[in-house]
Amino acid sequence: MAVYWGAACGGCCVSVLDVHEKLFDVVANADLVFWPIALDTKYEDVEEMEDKSIDITLYNGAVRNSENEHMAKVLRQKSKILVAYGSCAHMGGIPGLANFSTHEEILDKVYIRNTSTENKENVIPQVEFEVKEGKLHLPKFYNDVRTLDQTVDVDYYMPGCPPQTERLLEVFTAIVEGKELPPKGAVIGAYDKSQCEECTRKKSEKKQVKQFFRPFEVEDDGETCFLEQGIICLGPATRGGCGYRCIKGNAPCRGCYGPPPDVIDPGAKMMSAVATMIDANTPEEIERITSQIVDPAGTFYRFSLPGSILRRKVASKQ
């Protein structure tokens, strides 16, 4: 078994560590051959492994630079089963929000224009740099963030930011016990129904709002459906399986578990759902209510921009 991080925060690797003492069951049944957060296996060691010698690889993180891409290709070659583990590998995740900017804009903002940055010589990272000891290399930073399956062939998807450790254990146990695996391309470790099916908040038939609020603008009663209170909750367009933890913690769902089956674009579905709730029939009134949705693109595609239909922001009229 191998676990690798691409453009990730490390949370997915920690979610694997969160199996706690069950980790002993994991290592009793699987030899962990590569896991940068916990083991000192080098990339060269992986490159020298025989093809298909790793039974299962959990690849977390998006594909953002040449290093992520290289390792995705190497691990695909070396693994029997490649799992896109977590929101970033699945749909692009938080790093995917970089698709609202171009690669030049990001480097300029981070290394030059940032108010707390002093960089008089305008030094930005280079792929190659000559020092007296020799040449130094850095991975190439791409313009676009990609999901794992936009880079290599993927067998299964396990959504979540991060995936719930209980779901991982269920999947792991199923594999160890030799249970029949789902068809290729399946989303594992999540349910087919939406969050709303699981969520126990009170819902009524009539979801209509005259005003949208941001969570801090409203005193949540802790019981009523967030949407009915005018707070945007991505539950209707998000798969269940996480145990609606955010909602239990009185925060609306942000959509990390990705769309339910057969939905191509989770953001489009959510726009559709939220728009129909607007309690107005005249263009002026609708416009007034719509303007209260701050940053629709970032809200509806928080975890799914690279995996969505449009994939990235395009440059307005050249």
Binding site: D144, D265, K269, I278, P283, T290, D295, R312, K313, K317
Partner: protein
């Protein structure tokens, strides 16, 4: 070669499609750039359809439904109107000129209005130039 816009239009079965049909049977001439897709109601137009159209190379998307109060299903056109406003905001955030998406009410008797709309919307898109979404998605690095 001169740019010929590709326009996908979703027309509701009860009013707008019949209106477009009237334009045809009345032998009115209108821009050939409009590709018509009949849907049962403008409320059936999922934002996914609009985004898919742009992704597959449409330069403009036109949605037509029954006039307010006239919807065959009572309020499908209002739902369409609300989605249209949200979608426009999203499109502009994604760098797509919001003018590439247009919603208009066309009744079954408004063949002439449909023909005029087809012409005026085509001219508007021609002025905006080609939509770059398809090209950008195909060349992602």
């Amino acid at each position: 070669m001169e740019f010929e816009p590709k326009i996908v239009s979703f027309l509701c079965n009860w009013c707008s499609y019949t209106g477009a049909d009237l334009a045809g049977t009345s032998r009115m001439k209108y821009a050939f750039n409009i590709r018509i897709i009949r849907v049962m109601c403008s409320g059936r137009v999922d934002p996914t359809f609009v985004l898919e159209s742009f992704r597959k190379g449409a330069d403009g998307v036109l949605i037509c439904g029954c006039h307010p109060g006239d919807c065959h299903y009572h309020e499908g056109n209002y739902k369409c109107l609300r989605r249209y406003h949200v979608l426009k905001k999203y499109l502009s955030q994604m760098g797509i000129e919001p003018g590439r998406l247009h919603l208009e009410w066309i009744s079954a008797s408004e063949g002439r209005q449909f023909a005029q709309l087809a012409d005026s919307f085509t001219e508007k898109i021609r002025a905006l130039g080609p939509c770059s979404v398809k090209k950008v998605v195909e060349t992602l690095t």
